[in-house]
């Protein structure tokens, strides 16, 4: 059966629908310019589980598990579900950790960068430039033989275990349990973690994202990578469609507010927005997919992608526990104070970039074509 979603029209429709659904999620209660953000939502899940204790960002976001489950169901029906594992797993875990650390400096994954831009947040331009720079470095490594090696077919449990874990998170949201006095599952009462659509809206949207992105192979990092690597504009057409529909949606809903300052859940520390997303982009390129794509792959049975996602969740915990995450701009006593990151965050970004460069240089195979 031909896959209509992997055609040019298909990926444009996918991007357009993601943009529309994201804006709808914003009107349904998700935070402004954050209809869907894989990094922020994984961070919120980490918070809900008590892996970090930043009280304003704790909620078991159903969108993340729903994307994985949507991909799992779709790939199963379309016979693309293939349990596989074994491609430099520990490296992928740490790439996930540092991708999240980088993204949380900017306060968004590439999907959110696009939504922030569509909402008028010009800091997203700085971030997207950083993302592109990181991806470009990744492409240089790819063209010089960088490879994490092949994965191998695995037996069934290796494929469904991660989707099952995601299902457990959904159930934990729908049937809340308090495991101990003052313990998880946490649910923010103020701040971004307290802003969310209804469980059913989030689940429905996530399942739809999962289906669309699995069929269309949607990948924001890949869209930039393919232009640099192969002058291929296929994926970027889907990304552009997302930007256009989200922008129109924000105009219609009155959520468009252009500028660098006073942006929701955002800061205007330009250097670190750039460098944070450079780290994220490089890590995504080395791991073969943006965070949304990693969720899709994990639903298809790719255990290495599952480990990357677990790395991102762990990275979110590290980010907040060790004061690495970006702080939004704020008005203090009538004075506008630019947020950003402190010295630990800066050190972590630089260490992460260094680690990714080491991985890029050392994980190389000679690129030969056997005659």
């Amino acid at each position: 059966m031909k896959n209509i979603f992997s055609s040019k029209i298909g990926i444009i429709i996918t991007g357009a629908l993601i943009g529309i659904i994201a804006v709808l999620l914003q009107t349904a209660g998700n935070p402004p310019n954050m209809g869907i953000c894989v990094a922020c939502f994984e961070r919120d899940i980490a918070g809900a589980l008590g892996l970090h204790r930043a009280a304003v960002v704790q909620y078991l976001r159903p969108e993340i598990p729903a994307i994985v489950l949507g991909s799992f169901i779709t790939s199963f029906i379309m016979k693309e579900y293939r349990p596989r594992a074994g491609s430099s797993t520990i490296i992928r875990f740490f790439l996930g950790v540092f991708a999240m650390i980088g993204a949380l400096v900017f306060l968004g994954c590439p999907w959110r960068a696009l939504l922030r831009l569509a909402g008028g947040d010009l800091n997203a331009i700085t971030a997207l430039l950083g993302l592109a720079a990181g991806v470009a470095i990744g492409v240089a490594f790819l063209n010089n033989g960088y490879s994490l090696g092949r994965s191998y077919s695995n037996r069934n449990a290796s494929g469904w275990l991660f989707p099952a874990f995601m299902l457990a998170l959904v159930l934990l949201n729908i049937f809340p349990v308090s495991f101990s006095e003052g313990g998880p599952v946490f649910h923010s009462e103020t701040g971004p973690g307290s802003m969310h659509a209804s469980v059913w809206a989030s689940l429905g949207a996530g399942l739809l994202f999962g289906f669309l992105a699995q069929r269309s192979r949607f990948c924001t990092m890949g869209s930039i990578r393919d232009i640099i690597l192969a002058r291929d504009f296929h994926l970027i057409s889907g990304v552009a469609a997302l930007l256009v529909t989200a922008f129109i949606g924000n105009l219609v809903t009155g959520a468009f507010n252009p500028g660098f300052t006073n942006q929701p859940v955002a800061h205007s520390a330009h250097l670190w927005n750039f460098l944070g997303m450079l780290l994220a982009g490089l890590a995504f390129a080395l791991a073969g997919g943006c965070p949304g794509r990693q969720l899709i792959l994990s639903g298809e049975g790719d255990a290495d992608a599952g480990v990357f996602v677990l790395g991102m969740i762990a990275g979110a915990a590290v980010s907040h526990n060790f004061s690495l995450a970006g702080k939004p701009d704020a008005v203090k006593e009538g004075v506008y104070a630019v947020g950003g990151i402190g010295p630990w965050g800066q050190a972590a970004v630089l260490a992460g970039i260094l680690l990714c460069l080491v991985i890029g240089f050392t994980m190389r195979e000679k690129l030969t074509v056997r005659p």
Binding site: N3, S6, E80, R82, R84, S87, L142, N143, S147, L148, G149, R150, S151, Y152, S153, R217, C219, G222, R225, D226, L229, A230, R231, D232, H234, G288, G289, D304, L367, V369, R370, P371
Partner: protein, 70 residues
Amino acid sequence: MAENKIDARGLSCPQPVVLTRKAIDAGLTSLEIMVSSEVSKENVLRALGTGKFTAEVSRNGDDIIITAVK
């Protein structure tokens, strides 16, 4: 020209395309590329199309084999 084989089975995106493009850039006009997933197949076919190759797809168990000539 001798048929050139590329074993891209189990490799994650974008390795199969990177290997294909290296072969195309090296001037090879006859290729056999093995991949493990529909996604890799779609991506490699797109790269071959851009390189003005015509391709045929066959399967051998779990492996997808793409034979292409310019």
